[in-house]
């Protein structure tokens, strides 16, 4: 590359170990998954002739359609819940907490660093038939018999995931709010905007990049979540990742699993891109 400057060459050389690692361990495997999804499993052998049969199955079989649709629905509900719950916290940290911001941020991230597996399991303990929540309500006399609609269904999956992804939703919004020039808010006030008008006309549009970032950070991984549906979801809460795991494991149909994985990634990517552009259109500037 003779046209590159000295600086560019040094930068590339320095980056090369990391880049090569990512190419070998991420790009190559992802390309292989795509290849795999066009092949067929014959018991122990792979038939390497090109076919779109796996995709036909992944997109037309009712069971896969149901799982895919449910995964998207749960992920969207989780994302909206998480981001809406997280926004006031980020707002509080940015505008009302004066001296202990770093401490608050640390406290928010601590639960996230404890074993994910055990956190999900403990939600099962909290929400179960004889669980913490039910026994508390029974003791207080609010209910006469334990609630059953809170575990082993989609509600439990939504609650547990909203908990698991909370810090990821708070941090980007907090960063966006911190960047807002406070003099803009004063200007709005001087020009006669009340707190509510000011919030919707200045704060929210300027915080939009953070809101979009947290939406994407929560949405994309939750579609592929595997532990939460398995532990607290029951049969009504199973998601597409569980089916992918089954295809790679017990069902011994890796190509179909690969087709499901690719399909779900394409759908999620399409949704993410539209959210990104919607966010760009509606936020980022003061109206």
């Amino acid at each position: 590359m003779p046209s590159l400057s000295q600086d560019s060459k040094q930068g590339l050389t320095l980056l090369s170990p990391t880049l090569i690692y990512a190419l070998v361990m991420l790009a190559a495997p992802l390309a292989m998954v795509v290849m795999f999804s066009f092949w067929t499993q014959n018991y122990l052998d792979l038939d390497r002739t090109f076919t779109i049969a796996n995709y036909r199955e992944a997109w037309t079989q009712p069971i896969f359609q149901v799982l895919m649709w449910r995964s998207l629905k749960i992920s969207v509900i989780v994302t909206v819940t998480t981001v809406v719950l997280a926004f006031p916290i980020a707002y509080y940290l940015s505008f009302h907490v004066k001296s202990r911001k770093a401490l608050w941020l640390f406290l928010i991230t601590v639960p996230f660093w404890t074993s994910y597996l055990l956190r999900v399991f403990l939600w099962k303990v909290i929400l179960g038939y004889n669980g913490v929540f039910n026994s508390a309500l029974l003791n207080l006399g609010i209910i006469d018999e334990p609630l059953t609609f809170i575990l082993y269904n989609a509600n439990a999956v939504v609650l547990t995931l909203a908990h698991a992804w909370a810090p990821f939703a708070i941090l980007p919004i907090f960063v966006a709010l911190e960047k807002i020039d406070r003099s803009l808010l004063e200007a709005a006030e001087d020009l006669g905007d009340g707190p509510v008008r000011r919030f919707f006309r200045i704060t929210l549009p300027l915080a939009m990049p953070g809101v979009v970032a947290s939406t994407l950070i929560v949405l994309i991984p939750t579609v592929g979540d595997y532990i939460t549906p398995k532990l607290v979801g029951g049969t009504d809460g199973l998601m597409v990742a569980n089916m992918i795991q089954i295809q790679f494991g017990k069902a011994n149909n890796a190509p179909l699993g690969a087709a499901l994985a690719v399909s779900s990634m394409v759908v999620v990517a399409a949704i993410s891109v539209s959210i990104y552009f919607a966010g760009k259109k509606f936020g980022g500037k003061v109206k």
Partner: protein, 278 residues
């Protein structure tokens, strides 16, 4: 409606909400030690009495000790490799510019948003195709992939805050490249390096999905825990184990946080700065 929102965003109600939210965040974490010290085989309220027998049980479980050794090996290797790769990338991003840099860095940071099951499945497919057998090293390979972006995020701010004039001064005074790195650069970024090592160690120690797919006969700690969750009689000792893990993780994070703040202060930012964390 507008009036309600107005009161909500401008008054103490936000503080009340923040406290309630923190309770929600900490609810499962608080239960862990409660059940670990509870003298009953069933994980439910009311609590029966104080005991440490579940912890004693852990010392005599051989399979667990193997899993701890495996996890320590995996987490340590992951921390070292991903911090090294992260340092290269962060230095390159902070001090150099080349065409397509944004795209390349975006690609390296991709595992941060990619669902773990996709990373796990992709690596599994490649290893199957290459006919490689699964071992702790395959788990490490997966963990390095997801930990490197975290390391880059932490070290980027360490490099960005560093004055390049200090290195130039060192060159002018006759130090070699290596001498400058060892005596000037490394001490300046050391807090960031330690913070990165601790955080990547903690992520690897906790990671389940990739380990579950890529582990061979030697299991890591989360995979061991997963296998125990199926047996109700094993649950109390799993709670005890979880409590120990919780204490270790929080201690590591606390140390990481101290180093991160020291790094921020060294670069002239206030102690309340959130640099590096977000």
């Amino acid at each position: 409606m507008m009036g309600v929102i107005g009161r909500f965003i401008s008054s103490n109600w936000l503080a009340v909400y923040a406290v309630a939210y923190m309770l929600f965040l900490y609810a499962p974490v608080i239960l862990l030690p409660l059940f670990a010290f509870n003298d009953a085989t069933i994980i439910a309220f009311p609590l029966s009495g104080y005991t440490t027998k579940w912890f004693d049980l852990l010392w005599t479980t051989e399979a667990l000790h193997g899993a701890v050794r495996n996890s320590a090996f995996v987490a340590l290797s992951t921390a070292l490799i991903s911090t090294l790769l992260g340092a290269c990338a962060a230095r390159s991003a902070a001090n150099h510019h080349f065409p397509g840099q944004k795209g390349v860095m975006g690609f390296i940071m991709l595992p941060l948003v990619l669902p773990e099951i996709i990373v796990a499945v992709a690596l599994l497919v490649m290893l199957m195709q290459l006919g490689m057998s699964l071992s702790l090293w395959t788990v490490i390979a997966g963990h390095v992939l997801i930990c490197t972006p975290f390391s880059i995020a932490i070290l980027s701010s360490a490099f960005a805050g560093m004055e390049s004039s200090l290195e130039e001064a060192s060159f002018d005074l006759g130090e070699t490249r290596w001498g400058t790195f060892r005596r000037v650069t490394l001490p300046l970024i050391m807090p960031g390096v330690i913070s990165s090592l601790l955080i990547t160690f903690t992520i690897s120690l906790d990671e389940f999905i990739i380990s579950f797919f890529l582990t061979g006969t030697d299991v890591t700690l989360p995979v061991y825990i997963w296998s125990q969750l199926r047996f109700p009689s094993k649950l109390p000792s799993v709670m005890a184990l979880g409590t120990i893990l919780l204490v270790v993780s929080v201690a590591l994070l606390f140390v990481a946080e101290i180093f991160r703040r020291r790094a921020a202060r060294r670069q002239g930012a206030g102690p309340g700065s959130t640099q590096g964390l977000v």
